[in-house]
Symmetry: C2
Subunit: 130 residues, 2 copies
DNA sequence: GTAGGACCTAACATTAATGTCAGGTTCAAG
DNA sequence: CTTGAACCTGACATTAATGTTAGGTCCTAC
């Protein structure tokens, strides 16, 4: 598929897809005329890349990580070396802390939303009065 | 307490603490000489602010949200209006998606880390051979 | 072959929190 | 008083993904 369709199917801008290629995250064949031609598997890959960005990994680390992932094709094409394992372990720990922060923030938002829906002081009543 | 101690106790840089003040997130009294003087409650507040930043909220939204939070002092000083509730609900949904992404990314990292620790192809063995 | 949409590269802009530096002031201790 | 650490303001820099624009090429349908 070409870049427009991939963008549509992933919700990622064409600009970002080209950036991913530039960063070595996403390869594409080229048509004789020079236009990018992506395999179907690119959809999953792009979604994975977005998740990793959302998790706060930088493109370089994602580039190192991707070849070690098991994708639709089968097993990983590389095994992470000790240095990468150490880095990924640190990232995983950071992600765990981040999840904790997110859960905490979610509660804060939820409290404020709930307080606005129940403006009086009486304790939260989970059932309905009747 | 002064800014240096607050920075030490929260792990947030002095630069960021001043920025939070500038953004209306964190108030401080001033000594006669003009130096910031924070109450003890500032520690919790700064941690909360950091969590909200980590959750991807921008400073302006945090500034609107903070007065509606229940803090150590007691109840919230304001109730979120309908517009803010709508925005916070959208943020909460985004956070939920983000948590999902993070969990997904965490699994990816974990797989790669595990694969590197168990380089052979045999299925994962949770016990020890002996 | 031509029209128009989709695509190409390249360059510059943006955002938002944070880092860093410079030049000056305050504070606590001797 | 003086000294040195801590603090002040203000300005500029950085980062990293993404937006935007310009000027040109490709592709499909007619």
């Amino acid at each position: 598929m070409r870049i427009g369709e991939l963008a549509r199917r992933t919700g990622v801008s064409e600009r970002s897809l080209r950036y991913y290629e530039q960063q070595g995250l996403l390869a594409a064949d080229r048509t004789p005329g020079g236009q990018r031609d992506y395999p179907d598997a690119a959809v999953d890959r792009v979604i994975r890349i977005q998740e990793l960005f959302a998790a706060g990994l930088h493109s370089r680390k994602i580039a190192e990580l991707l070849p070690c992932m098991r994708d639709a094709d089968g097993g990983p094409s590389e095994i992470a070396d000790a240095k990468l394992v150490a880095e990924l372990t640190a990232e995983r720990d950071r992600i765990d802390r981040m999840i904790g922060d997110l859960i905490s923030s979610r509660e804060v938002l939820d409290d404020v939303i709930t307080a606005a829906s129940q403006p009086d002081d009486r304790p939260v009543n989970l059932g309905r009065p009747g």
